[in-house]
Symmetry: C2
Subunit: 341 residues, 2 copies
DNA sequence: AGCCGATAATGAAACGTTTCAAAAATGCTA
DNA sequence: TAGCATTTTTGAAACGTTTCATTATCGGCT
């Protein structure tokens, strides 16, 4: 019990030197079939499991990839983790995940922990200000792929969706349906993701001025305050006829708030969410969303990181993916148009 | 760039020996204030980060806790991970998560990977048959807390909810509302969690026999097949008046299916889910659930594991927590009773 | 000034691998 | 069978820490 046989134990039992065991283990050439056989048996008998820690210390490669995300409770991040873990497992890597809770200082500490553990590379979903973290990583020459959410830093690879375009197209779609007064709900305007989405939104609104107006409401996670704000925005005479939530969590809040206010969609307002909550198809009526290409993001980021591990001085690259509108019954023409018919 | 200063570099720069740096770093006694100061400055200048790998190799403790779960895309597991990560970060640990996808063979391989990485301890959410994994862990004397889902193995600590009781009480509640024909949808009957829930369900049904009957439908993730089965079950003359889904994913499927069949709740059937999907409050009408005490599970498991790390030969213990019914509008009296009024 | 007991600082061993130069064994050829 | 070229095998160094037995330094007392 509690035995941890080492390579030395194996060597003794097989009657060979540690060097030979190591060679057999990593099947390098130069080990005769007989020895190889002996060693294999000895390993099996003892239940030997190579000590990755020692391997790492000696060899320099840990075969651990760090993953730093704000949280995991969001379905999007959980899905990313899951995909990375699968990719990793297939290729002899482990994932070590660490949470920043969106706070720069905490992120730095947690990433430092990863660095101290000799991760081979890192996938980072940054906070609104990851400068310190990025500086650390650049200084250490840590292979890193940044996903989403931050102004571009020329030292790193990026995988991101084209938020601006996706949001512009979504907004145009709403305008095309006849909506003239829009309202966009966002949470953290410090995130470049949010900023780019707002830009896209404004692009579309601007192009249709002055007929179309687009407001933005910013709120942290205080749902009660958000509820008041939404209630106010909707109560005015020329109220918005289409509401857009910038992510799933916000969409959940918004739906709850509208239900409480007894505002229904698409009759009273059209409803759209950026990011795809699992429950989009089952609210009544179903919610239209802008879908993240999650799987693509994960594979692109992973492939890029692995490529960079093999070829460290690759020139940093930005990989941009497209997110698309998935229409559903929550979209409809504005009420006035509706009536006009 | 790409510099990885070691303790030796720090020692040189501070003009002391490596031993002293180590002492200063882990502030052990016997280091004069002056030296301590020097060392601190040298570390800051060089951007020194202790190499955890070397520490682990020498010291035996890795300060990494392994976490093996079936998936992360379920909100329940994602929440557990998140809580563990927070607890870990606070106490100088990292979490290394690994996914079994519910397959015993894969689980074994992934857990072996964790063992090879010298994790100090392990939190395991088993598959339907984790015997091989548990044997491995027991043999290595790996401190392990098992969460949920498996027949008890006397060698390990357990944290689980009282599925049987929770399900019995939930079922009794439905019966109390007047329901006489129940239908329980489950996914994997090989999981002891599922089995115990079914037992609880049967307990309640049996106690109310012969007035009350309770059927069970088992289905893998094939939603189309499930849809047919549900449609059939509901089409018969004396159809069930209350449906229960055994977890969130199943609840999502069920809601979708019922919507398609244009069966509404609570008028046509009462609806209840074991496990709490985020969307429970926003489907119309809101879904009643049996809520997992997720936070409690996480803290109990974590505390127990840390206790066991400090005191290895603790006697294994089973910690049982209660899950409670959270009523909502999806529960109502059966249609017939309804009409009778 | 010389000693003594504390307190500080040092340096080498050890953790479990991999790697690599060197030694040993083997096979071939003449 | 001696000599040489290969192929196997070996043993020790190295990775970056911690630990611990030694040694050095210091302050306080006679």
């Amino acid at each position: 019990m509690n035995s941890k046989p080492t390579i030395l134990d194996v060597a003794r039992r097989a009657g060979v030197s540690v060097g030979t065991v190591s060679n057999a283990l990593n099947d390098r050439g130069n080990v005769s079939a007989a020895r190889r056989e002996n060693v294999a048996r000895a390993m099996a008998d003892l239940g030997y499991v190579p000590n990755r820690v020692a391997q790492t210390l000696r060899g320099g490669e840990s075969h651990v990839i760090g993953l730093c995300t704000p949280v995991t409770s969001s379905a999007y991040f959980a899905a990313l983790l899951e995909m990375f873990e699968d990719l990793a497992a297939r290729q002899g890597y482990e994932i070590m995940q660490v949470l920043s809770h969106g706070e720069p200082a905490l992120e730095l500490r947690r990433v430092q922990a990863l660095v101290g553990r000799n991760v081979d590379g890192l996938i980072l979903i940054p906070t609104h200000d990851s400068q310190a973290t990025l500086d650390l990583l650049a200084e250490r020459g840590m292979p890193t792929v940044v996903v989403d959410r931050v102004a571009r830093d020329p030292r790193f690879d990026y995988v991101a969706i084209d938020d601006r375009r996706a949001m512009r197209e979504a907004t145009q779609h709403l305008i095309g349906l006849g909506h003239r007064r829009l309202l966009y709900l966002v949470r953290d305007t410090r995130l470049s993701t949010t900023q780019r989405r707002i830009e896209g939104y404004r692009d579309a609104v601007r192009a249709a001025r002055p007929t179309v107006t687009g407001a933005v409401i910013q709120r942290d996670s205080d749902e009660a305050a958000l509820a008041r704000q939404v209630a106010d925005a909707i109560a005015v005479p020329r109220a918005p006829t289409a509401l857009i939530a910038s992510n799933s969590a916000l969409a959940l809040s918004l739906v709850r708030i509208l239900q409480q206010l007894r505002v229904s969609w698409p009759d009273d307002v059209a409803l759209l969410a950026f990011d795809e909550p699992v429950w989009a198809p089952i609210v009544t009526p179903p919610l239209a969303v802008v879908r993240h290409p999650t799987r693509q993001i994960a594979t692109e980021a992973w492939n890029r990181l692995l490529l960079r591990l093999r070829t460290p001085d690759l020139r940093p690259k930005r990989i941009t993916l497209q997110a698309h509108l998935v229409p559903a019954a929550s979209l409809g023409p504005p009420r006035s148009t509706h009536r006009a018919r």
